[in-house]
């Protein structure tokens, strides 16, 4: 067998709850299984993300959206962790957790509008696709710089603590950004300030083409917590029950005033880094094959079926309903035009200063005299 990334790393104990085929809970598991309603809501969110990613990737191939970063293979890690947080808690995301907006109640239409960057996009077409945000569900966007959102999460947690609220913050990062200064600053500030925040590392094996083994010499990502003075744990990230249990435990601790925790979810990025990355250039097919046999969605379906919560007919029904709703959202989004040219200079400051007003007036004059600017033909490289 070639030297590929596998689930269990020598010397690291992962918390696990269910068998790898999802057929039953492990006897050794002593944690908390989510109630049936929570299990089903996690599953629906996982399914939505899978269906959405498939659809968006197809649109990208057809040239209808510019860029997609998929979550395929990481759905349990993403949605079972988010399920441990309430509506007044805040969630700071990294690249692949955008589906959590929908899980927390943002309409699918809004998600799709952002992918198109059209006039209905809540970011007014200012960000690349896949930088989701929604203030109504307390979900700010990440920045492409990576790791920068982690200190923000700590600041928000400290603000909540200062006001005596019981809310907590979830801060996501990938394995790559654990090497960033933002990760270090955030972990350190959080522990020193006893901030009510849960750091969740979704270790999907790859930061574009660099394997996670080249991000750290620590025995595991969970082990990093120790030096900062907070609890850390490594979890099978494709096991929705284990993920929920570990993250819920950390969230409870934070809510009770016990401070921050680190939860490292070991998972796998099944696709490329994004729609324009070709992972066959740098990783072994055997590795992809190994992880495709550990699909978190199939595992969850098997678990729910065995529990009597899901039938094949129901699965079909849910899937079809999602496909239809997403299709309708796409049809609508393609009818909506670009944001107004005037929006180019709003939201830089609360009130546009005169020089910005002058600049947009000039741009409008040139449009009136010479027509619209030509659309750029360049393609995003990553």
């Amino acid at each position: 067998m070639p030297d590929i990334r596998v689930l269990d790393k020598k010397g690291v104990t992962l918390r696990k709850a269910m068998r790898e085929d999802g057929s039953a809970l492990l006897k050794s598991f002593k944690g908390e299984v989510p109630n049936d309603e929570t299990l089903m809501s996690i599953y629906k969110a996982m399914l939505c993300t899978r269906v959405m990613d498939d659809r968006m990737l197809k649109l990208q191939r057809q040239g209808r959206v510019a860029f997609v970063g998929t979550s395929t293979g990481q759905e349990a890690a993403i949605h079972a962790s988010a399920a441990a947080f309430g509506k007044d808690d805040w969630i700071y995301s990294a690249l692949r957790e955008g589906g959590v907006t929908i899980q927390r109640g943002m309409p699918i239409q809004e998600y799709v509008a952002h992918m198109f960057g059209n006039a209905e996009d809540s970011a007014k077409g200012r960000q690349m696709p896949n930088h989701f945000q929604c203030a109504e569900v307390n979900f700010p966007s990440w920045s492409s710089v990576l790791g920068t959102q982690l200190p923000h999460a700590v600041g928000t947690a400290l603000a909540m603590k200062a006001r005596g609220e019981k809310n907590v913050v979830l801060a996501y990062t990938g394995d790559g950004a654990t090497s960033s200064c933002g990760f270090h600053s955030a972990m350190n500030f959080a522990a020193v300030g006893n901030a009510p925040v849960v750091f969740v590392i979704i270790d999907n094996g790859w930061a574009i083409s660099v394997p996670s083994s080249k991000q750290t010499a620590s025995s595991s990502f969970g082990a990093k917590a120790k030096a900062y003075g907070m609890p850390g744990i490594d979890v099978d990230g494709n096991d929705a029950v284990a993920v929920f249990d570990a993250v819920q435990e950390a969230a409870k601790r934070a809510r009770a005033g016990g401070g921050p925790s680190l939860v490292a979810l070991r998972s796998y990025r099944m696709g490329g880094h994004s729609s324009s990355d070709d992972p066959t250039r740098y990783r072994d097919d055997e590795e992809v094959k190994y992880w495709s046999q550990r699909d978190p969605l199939l595992r969850m379906e098997s678990f729910l079926t065995k529990k009597g919560l899901l039938s094949e007919a129901q699965r079909q029904e849910l899937s079809t309903a999602l496909v239809d709703e997403i299709k309708a959202a796409i049809d609508h989004a393609e009818q909506v035009g670009d944001p107004e040219l005037e929006s180019l200079v709003t939201d830089v400051y609360a009130v546009p200063p005169k020089h910005l007003t002058r600049q947009v007036i000039d741009a409008l004059r040139i449009v009136a005299e010479q027509g619209d600017a030509e659309r750029m033909q360049g393609k995003f490289p990553l």
Partner: protein
Amino acid sequence: MVQAINDGLRSIMKEDESVLVMGEDVGPKGGVFLATENLTKEFGEDRCFDTPLSEDGIIGVGIGMAMNGMKPVCEIQFQDFIFPAFDQIVSEAAKMRYRSGGQYTVPMTIRTPYGGGIRGGLYHSQSGEAYFAHTPGLKVVIPSTPYDAKGLLIASINDPDPVLFMEPKALYRAFRQEVPEGVYEVELSKTREVTPGGDVAVFCYGAMVPVCTEAAKRVKESRNKDVRVVDLRTLMPLDEESVLQAARDCGRVVIVHEAPRFCGYGAELSALIAEHAIETIEAPIKRVAGFDTPFPNTLENYYLPDARRVLDAIEEVLDF
């Protein structure tokens, strides 16, 4: 000035519970320049607290607080130490309102002492205002008097956008001025006419204001010419109208700053005047600036513009 800043912080903290102060040594010690003296004692550790030695952490955590209803005043001990936080300031604080379509905002103030004159060498003397004035979404404010320092600081803290508040450390204890008690604001993006005059307009800010005022006095004595010294006070967004008005009224312009000349703030000011008021300009626009070198230690008095060098430039534009 440093007492006025301390008084400004105390006044606004009394009035607004969402204002809090954080940074290195701002707690019991009261800051290395004593700008935050007694604030922890008066308001408690929740409102004024020491942080780990981590500039990007200070600003990043401040951003997260500001996004969640607080008005943090983050201190960066010396402006020279701000660069580890450059990404958080430029890519995060400054862009948050824009990139979220107005859903999230960062009403944060970053206080930082800048500039030379204390024998601080390379890393306790720099003037980095141009890096930040170049960043859309950020406001850059520099006071030159105790009265303005307090009023502009309170206006910055109350402003809905992130403000970099750069304090000329050379003026911290340079002269005394009575300031009103309690909360008052000096409006941002408004220049101040320091001396009236119609012969030459001298634009400056921070520690260069008294330098230019002294040069103006010498020109009056030696040539009986009236120099209008204009203190910009807010570099971004600039009070363009007042700048252009002064340039048009005088027809001769000198711009003074401590920072290196190349791509310095004076370059933008010069271009602005050339673009909008060229028809009234009677002499080349002159800049007096720091050398295009790192900041020196022993020879800092030659590096920094002083009244001699400003006078030299004023005479040059008068004689053109």
